[in-house]
Amino acid sequence: MAEKPELSMAAYRQRTRRSLLTGGLAALAGFAGWRWVQDQPQSHNIPTVLRKGHEFNEAVWSGLFREDHQARTFSRSAASILRVNGRQGLRSEIDLADWQFTVKGPDGTTLGTHVLNDIKQLDYFETTIEHKCIEGWAQITNWGGARFRDFMRLYEDQLPDNISHVYLETPDSQYYVSVDIETMRHDQTMLTYNNLGVPIDELHGAPLRLTTPLKYGIKQLKRIGEIQFLTEAGRDYWGERGYDWYAGL
């Protein structure tokens, strides 16, 4: 209904009463909505509607994902060693000489174990990208290692077609992530053992870690102890603590 361009004072007064009432009710409704969000049952540490919000974003942005679209790369001279953040999963001692990791299928059966040399057999790939932390800082660094895609090829025959996620955890199982398969198959997603051309140090994930500029740092697990191929999303350390499971960039 179109509004009249002008009102008499009598009509205006009536209008004012009605509008203030509507406004008051709308404000109350808004406030109730706000309480409703706050009082929602929690879904992994955030109100369920907000978890749904994350899932909506995941649907939108994974739908728009293009495997041939690369994250921006930089010149090697711009790279520096990342600041250290997050020691979950790195607190126990590690004997690098003795280290190995296992690979499991969706049902949990062990498909293989690897030492660092197995990964070094795969094509070497180096890239300089901007690493982004969900806390709000970003830094350019250089990673060297093998593409995860090439590694996965070793297992392609043993895996069902419907692999949707890859789960990784540290040797002590204290830190773990789940990453969608599209990201894992991307060109820039790597099993990384070099940082700025030299072996990666312990606090940055020695001897082998996951890196990808397509996700925030929380997904780029340091010190791999186990890799499992999954047919649905798996556990995720920060996802369970209120963050987005997808965490894509």
């Binding site: 009102l7 209008r15 978890r51 974003n57 901007e130």
Partner: protein, 256 residues
């Protein structure tokens, strides 16, 4: 406002409160979007600051001399911004869509109704805004004229703040999906630069908000309620060459 309805010469106007009339100032769509925007922007600022808390890096200063750090510690405690990154992000990325949708709806509405004409500044607006400022600060006595609904300073600030809204959205998406939306991120000078813009916009919003509240308080209750009722009472010209009275008469006739 153009009205071609004419009064019936046979029935002269009834002089009910002849000097006052309520004129439509804000249409229904504008009002709803304005008030929907208000809580949304508050939520965006608040959740954004919870994100900022996790990496508090911006400050004003020259070289190593720091004049003002965003923000003092007490600020975070007072607003419950400590240790709330995950929740901040969850609110921010969900409500970002609502803020964006409301913003887009507002622009479409303003365009379709022609309301934008009341808001766009022109070449004289900068000069005119200075006059308004001087008047508001009581340095100059004469009140600068309004051009239509708003004076030049209002035109300038309202246009600017709508532009800022879109800058918040664009820089927000640029740092939300810097790879998938790499062109946008590139336009804004890269991830770090887009992030600075995003934060600066937030500060600008807060400054606008403070001035806005002050000005609305100064303009009085009836100006404030015009954003709720849509209508504002104006004194009509008693000389007879009254622009609005014919319309008013026809309206009263319709009401009767």
């Amino acid at each position: 406002m153009s009205l071609d309805t004419n009064s019936d010469p046979q029935s002269p106007p009834q002089p009910i409160e002849p000097t006052k009339i309520a004129v439509l100032k804000h249409r229904r769509g504008s009002r709803w979007m304005h008030w929907i925007n208000f809580p949304l922007i508050v939520i965006m600022i608040w959740s954004g600051l919870r994100i900022y808390w996790a990496n508090r890096v911006y400050a004003f200063g020259i070289l190593s001399w720091e004049w003002f750090m965003f923000f003092p510690e007490s600020f975070y405690t007072a607003l419950d911004l400590n240790q709330r990154l995950a929740r901040g992000i969850a609110f921010h990325f969900t409500f970002a869509w609502l803020f964006t949708l409301n913003g887009i709806a507002f622009v479409i509405y303003t365009w379709r109704t022609g309301e934008w004409r009341e808001m766009v500044p022109n070449r004289k607006s900068l000069r005119g805004s200075l006059d308004v400022l001087l008047h508001d600060l009581r340095i100059r006595k004469t009140e600068p004229p309004k051009r239509g609904r708003y004076n030049e300073a209002q035109r300038l600030t309202y246009s600017l703040v709508i532009f800022l809204g879109f800058l918040a959205i664009l820089s927000g998406f640029a740092i939300f999906k810097p790879t998938q939306l790499s062109i946008l991120t590139w336009i804004l000078g890269g991830y770090t630069s887009a992030r600075v813009i995003h934060f600066a916009v937030t500060i600008a919003f807060v400054l606008f908000f403070l001035v806005h509240i002050l000005q609305v308080a100064r303009a009085g209750w009836r100006n404030f309620t015009s954003m709720v009722t849509g209508y504002e009472v104006t004194e009509t010209d008693t000389s007879g060459s009254n622009r609005t009275s014919p319309a008013r008469q026809s309206m009263e006739a319709a009401d009767g």
